[in-house]
Symmetry: C2
Subunit: 193 residues, 2 copies
DNA sequence: TTAATTTTGGAACGTTCATTTCAAATAAAT
DNA sequence: ATTTATTTGAAATGAACGTTCCAAAATTAA
C-alpha cells in the first residue's frame, strides 16, 4: 500500500559523502546536501534523521568501500609484505585520482570531531582497532615467512603502519605528485624489510 | 592622547587559539571567542578584523611557539639524529600533556581547510616547506657524520619525517599512552639508522 | 580640565543554520 | 476506484551565525 522509497540510498550517500568530504562536517550545510543529492529536505530528514546521522552513515559507506577494496587486495596478494604495500598503493591511487585533494574522510573527521561526540568517537576507535588488527595480522605473517624483519613486534609495526597511513593521507592533501608519494611509500616500508 | 590598548594581544591570541584548537575553525563561534578572551566583540573586530584573520594570527602564534622550541632544541643537540629525535619527543610531551587530545592546530587546520582558502593554503604550504627544509638539512648533516644511513636522499627522508610527524599528531588524538608513543617514535627513527 | 582618540558595551544587522510542519502528490494494495 | 501509507514541496521556525553600529566610558596629552 505505501509509496515506496524512490531514490537509491547508496547513490544518495555517495553524493552526501562528497559534500562532507569536500567541505568537512561543520562547513557542509543542509542546503549543500539538498543540492548535491537532489532530494528534498524532508526526504533527507525522513530517511536519515538528521545531519549528524547522515554523516555517520557516510562514514560507514566510506569505511566499507575501503574494507572491500582491501579484502580484494588481500585475496590477490601472495605475500603479507606485498599486501601491505598494495594497501599503501591503494591510497596512493586515491590521492592521485582525487583532483580536489580532499584527504581521507575518516582522518579528516578524526581531526575535526574526535573527543567531542561519543558516537563519532566510537566509530573512530572502532576503525582504529580494526586497522591495527589487520596490520598486526599481516606483520605477524610477514615475520613468519621472513619477508618482514623482527626488529619490532607486530603490534609495534601495526601502530607504525597505521600512523604512516594517516600521515600519508595528510601529506597527500598538499602533495599529489605520484613519484614523490611512491618514494615516500618505499621509504616507509623499507623499515620493515 | 589616545586610550591605548589595555589587553595583552599575546594572551588573547593564546586564549583564542585554545578555542580554535579545541573546536576547530568552523565549530568555534565568535561567542566562544568572546567568552574565552573576556574581550568585547567590538574589541576583537577592532584588533583582529574578523574571525578568519584572528584564526590566521593564532596559527602564526602556534607556529612561532614550536619554531622557538625547536630552535632551542637544535642549539642543545650535539648530533643531527638526536636533534630529530628530540623534535619528535617535543611533540610526544605535547600529546601527553594535553588532556583534551586536540592534536596539532596546524594539522587540524590542514585537514579542515586546505585547498579551500588561499590565505590558509599559503600558510600551510609555507609551513610545509620550512619543515621539509629543516629536516632535509638535519638529515644531510646526519648522513655526513654517519649517524643517518644513505639509503635515501635527504629530501626523501625529509618527506618521510614530515609525514611521520603528521601521522604522529593524528595518532596522538586517540592514543596518548606515552610508552606506546615512545615506541612509535623509536620504530619511525630506526629507519634512518 | 579640556580636548582628542580609542576602547568598550550591548543591541541590532541581515543571513544562514538545522530542523519542523503540513498539505498535496504519489503509488502500491485492496 | 478507493484506501492507506509515504514521499514530496515549499514555507516557516527559532536559534545561532559573523559582523556592524554607535553612544558611552576611558585614557592620555595638552
Amino acid at each position: 500500500m505505501p509509496k515506496t522509497e524512490v531514490f537509491n540510498k547508496e547513490i544518495v550517500l555517495n553524493q552526501a559523502s562528497h559534500v562532507f568530504h569536500t567541505k568537512g562536517y561543520n562547513a557542509a550545510s543542509m542546503q549543500d546536501l539538498v543540492d548535491a543529492t537532489g532530494l528534498n529536505r524532508s526526504s533527507i530528514y525522513n530517511s536519515f534523521g538528521n545531519k549528524h546521522n547522515l554523516f555517520l552513515e557516510c562514514l560507514k559507506v566510506y569505511q566499507n568501500k575501503y574494507q572491500r577494496s582491501i579484502s580484494n587486495l588481500l585475496l590477490k596478494a601472495n605475500c603479507p609484505l606485498k599486501a601491505i604495500e598494495s594497501i599503501f598503493e591503494l591510497y596512493l591511487e586515491e590521492i592521485v585520482k582525487d583532483n580536489d585533494n580532499k584527504g581521507c574522510l575518516i582522518t579528516n573527521c578524526k581531526s575535526e570531531m574526535a573527543n567531542q561526540d561519543s558516537t563519532i568517537n566510537n566509530f573512530l576507535i572502532n576503525n582504529q582497532e580494526s586497522t591495527l588488527a589487520l596490520f598486526e595480522d599481516l606483520v605477524n605473517q610477514g615475520q613468519e615467512n621472513s619477508s618482514i624483519n623482527r626488529n619490532r613486534t607486530p603490534k609495534d609495526y601495526a601502530l607504525y603502519l597505521f600512523t604512516a597511513i594517516q600521515g600519508f593521507r595528510m601529506t597527500g592533501i598538499l602533495i599529489d605528485n605520484k613519484q614523490q608519494l611512491q618514494s615516500l611509500i618505499n621509504t616507509t616500508l623499507q623499515n620493515l624489510k
